[in-house]
């Protein structure tokens, strides 16, 4: 066993920096993820007109984790958008999930992870470069989440 948080080796760290330079800035990505979340909530609101969206928690940021921990990269979990106590039928859920998939694809978040998939209990994530994600879930409350992954701030690119 090595130390619990072994630093990324120099070669891989240099490659990580190059990867970040090829991606949109942290600020632009945050905007893009926010737009994606808004598009999904708008679709859900069209499908279920009675929906009211809340933002019960703040977002949360950080420096980047391996293999980007030696870069100036930043990452940010946007605040969840939550509609409490809504009835989402299975066909409606399928449409919301499909909308999320399409929106996420625009951010290259095409790797799908199904965490829950049963009637009335769904939880799906779409992952993209450096961990960026769009998630939608329903367990009585409908939730849309987004995360930038690691990106370089504009002034560090």
């Amino acid at each position: 066993m090595k130390q619990p948080y072994e630093p990324t080796p120099p070669t891989a760290a240099a490659k990580a920096t190059e990867t970040l330079k090829s991606l949109p800035s942290f600020e632009d990505t945050q905007t893009q993820v926010q737009v994606a979340i808004t598009q999904i909530t708008a679709t859900a609101s069209q499908l279920i007109p009675s929906i009211t969206w809340e933002t019960p928690h703040e977002g949360s940021g950080d420096n980047c984790e391996r293999p980007y921990e030696q870069t100036d990269g930043k990452r940010y979990f946007l605040p969840d958008r939550v509609a409490t106590n809504v009835v989402v039928s299975e066909p409606t859920w399928a449409k919301i999930q499909e909308a999320a998939k399409g929106v996420a694809a625009q951010l290259e978040a095409t790797q799908m992870q199904v965490m829950k998939d049963e009637p009335g209990n769904h939880d799906v994530g779409f992952y993209g470069p450096t961990g960026l994600f769009i998630k939608v879930g329903y367990r009585g409350n409908l939730v849309v989440s987004g995360y930038t992954g690691c990106r370089l701030p504009r002034d560090k690119k």
Binding site: M1, K2, Q3, P4, Y5, E54, P56, H57, E58, S60, G61, D62, N63, E65, R66, P67, E69, F77, D80, V82, T84, N85, Q111, Q113, V114, M115, K116, D117, E118, N121, D123, G125, Y127, G128, T130, G131, L132, F133, K135, G137, Y138, R139, G140, N141, V143, S145, Y147, G149
Partner: protein, 613 residues
């Protein structure tokens, strides 16, 4: 002796102010100030504790002021404040008396009661209502008057040497004034109660006397963070300067720094300047290196706390242990519905791990919030996840601290370090609960590797530490086999163990293990070989049976891919491997089963966690 209304009316703020002017103006000419004070008779008409205190005062006041010029200034300050306070009390009393007169009520100066005046001719109920309105105001005035009296008595006692002069800021409240002259309470609840009553100036004064004040368990998280960040900035400045001195000294004599060309020791009759120069250099070099020893830890903590505004520096300690200690909360633990404290294991250091642990805390907190958002009735609950490196985890050579192999081997195979850490960890839990708003937090104790042993022992520390549930992963044992031993309810202890976590060799007693154990990578070879000796006799490792196979605990899954979630559905989560994956989110994104489970347990949604297959 309690002050009465009659006493208040006799008080003369002007006379007391004379003391202030006299003591203040003559603060630097103490003989003259002493003479003037001795000639003042302002206290002669006083009753109460002030009057009693003055009996001892006159002669020794002069001696004190002669000896200590600063003390006269302190007396002046106390007298000046008392004069202001007297005016305030008397002004309040006058206002109350006027209000009472309008209602045909008056104040009995002896019994300190509001009573009907001679002009009152209404029904008894009207008098009762007026009394109910006015008496609380009178009680408040009397309480303040007693405080002023005690304050001035203390000033006189200080001046005549009956009690030592405290450097503390003055406080009208006798119990606070007394508390400031004593060590702070170590009991987190008592500390919290006291701290809550202190003024910002008093808190700053306590910090000026003890820069580690922010580590006091029971202090509000915002204040812990504030004072620990001040301490961090202070230590960073001095450690950085020391590192600069060490660099400069190394540049002066790079050969000496590498142990080359060292002048021979001097002997009687053979004293050489170069040896003297070397010894002087060496003293400075050792001192500079010693003072900059924790610079990497401080830099890592600084980077971690600055990474996001939702982080709080709950602990910073470079004095107590053999290693630096630190704890960072993500989210406010004083207001969060759910709080977790994660204790790490082998080879963890602040400089090597605090950033990674804080990142994991951010990840697991965000996932816990998301799971709560999904659950009707829980969307508005909040979460704080704390990365706690508040003890000295055993260090095994070759990875982080070269040269510590022998001590690390011992530490990893014995529980003395865990016992020492457990005491501090239990105190940290107590502090979280003492400072928590609106009743206790839903507190989850999480332990990884050797940190699970520390956590298990912390939960067995005497007393109720307010922990709701525990989660152990990659555990070499927790020295307990039932939830009750941990002061937890059945069903509230969770475990995880990956199939390929080498920690299992601690428990495996078959003869083959004796052959394989030495081949394991350190520290597992040390752990396994040592534990096997105990296992032969007891069927368990040195630290008790494996919690991950104990039927009294709930075992959660670690496996990858699409699996049944145990609730009729399926899951597609990534697997965890080895000893370190449990809290670590995959590099390329996504969730591990273990990440999902830690978040679920922390959120109090353990029923949604993925059980072990």
């Amino acid at each position: 002796m309690t002050v009465t209304v009659a006493d208040i009316e006799r008080w003369s703020a002007e006379s007391v102010r004379e003391v202030f002017h006299a003591a203040g103006a003559r603060g630097t000419a103490t003989l003259e100030a002493s003479r003037q004070l001795s000639s003042l008779a302002v206290f002669d008409t006083w009753e109460g504790s002030t009057a009693e205190a003055r009996k001892h005062s006159n002669a020794s006041i002069r001696q004190d002021l002669d000896a200590h010029g600063n003390e006269s200034l302190a007396v002046a300050k106390a007298a000046g404040k008392a004069a202001n306070d007297i005016e305030h009390v008397q002004s309040e009393l006058r206002a109350l008396r006027a209000d009472a007169a309008e209602l045909h009520m008056t104040i009995d100066p002896v019994s300190n009661k509001i009573v009907p005046g001679s002009s009152f001719n209404g029904p008894p109920m009207e008098a009762l209502i007026a009394e109910m309105q006015l008496q609380p105001r009178l009680d408040a005035i009397l309480a303040e008057a007693n405080s002023v009296d005690a304050q001035l008595a203390a000033a006189i006692n200080m001046a005549d040497g009956d009690v030592p002069m405290p450097a503390a800021p003055h406080d009208n409240r006798p119990e606070i004034q007394q508390a400031l002259s004593q060590p702070l309470p170590t009991d987190p609840r008592q500390l919290h109660d006291l701290w809550d009553k202190l003024t910002p100036e008093e808190k700053d004064w306590l910090y000026s006397r003890n820069h580690n004040i922010g580590n006091a368990n029971g202090m509000a998280a915002n204040d812990r963070d504030h004072y620990n960040r001040l301490n961090l900035a202070d230590q960073l400045t001095s450690a950085t300067a020391a590192a600069g001195r060490a660099d400069a000294l190394r540049a002066q004599h790079p050969d000496w720094a590498q142990g080359h060309n060292i002048p021979s020791p001097n002997e009687p009759g053979a004293i050489f300047d170069d040896r003297l120069a070397y010894e002087d250099w060496q003293r400075q070099y050792d001192a500079a290196r010693g003072e900059s020893k924790y610079l990497p830890d401080l830099q890592a903590v600084s980077k971690a706390v600055q990474a996001s505004p939702d982080r709080k520096l709950m602990l910073l300690d470079t004095q107590t242990g053999k290693q630096a200690r630190a704890a960072i909360a993500v989210g406010d633990p004083d207001t969060a519905t759910h709080v977790s404290v994660t204790a790490p294991g082998l080879n963890t250091t602040v400089h090597g791990a605090i950033e990674g642990m804080a990142s994991e805390a951010t990840n697991v907190r965000t996932e816990a919030l998301r799971q709560l958002s999904l659950t009707p009735g829980h969307a508005n609950e909040s979460v704080s996840a704390i990365a706690w490196i508040g003890y000295d985890p055993p260090q095994v050579s070759g990875f982080d601290q070269p040269g510590a192999s022998l001590a690390g081997g011992w530490g990893v195979s014995h529980d003395d370090i865990a016992h020492a850490g457990a005491h501090d960890l239990a105190g940290f839990y107590d502090g979280i609960q003492a400072a928590h708003h609106d009743g206790p937090a839903d507190l989850t104790a999480i332990g990884h590797s050797y940190g699970s042993l520390t956590t298990g022992l912390a939960l067995q520390e005497p007393g109720d530490h307010g922990v709701s549930r525990a989660l152990f992963y990659g555990s070499p044992g927790i020295e307990a086999s039932a939830p009750q031993q941990l002061h937890l309810q059945p069903g509230h202890v969770f475990t995880m163990e990956t199939p390929d976590d080498p920690i299992q060799w601690v428990y495996d007693g078959p003869p083959i293990a004796h052959g394989v154990a030495p081949l394991l990578p350190p520290p597992f070879n040390i752990l396994a070989e040592d534990a096997l000796a105990g296992a032969d006799a007891s069927g368990a490792g040195h630290f008790g049976p494996n919690p991950a196979t104990n039927p009294n605990f709930t075992h959660l899954g670690t496996a990858p891919s699409v699996i049944s979630d145990g609730h009729g559905g399926t899951l597609n989560l990534q697997g965890a491997h080895g000893h370190s994956d449990y809290p670590r989110f995959p590099d390329g994104g996504g969730l591990r089963t273990t990440n999902y489970n830690i978040a679920a347990v922390l959120a109090g949604l353990g029923n949604q966690a993925v059980p072990q297959k």
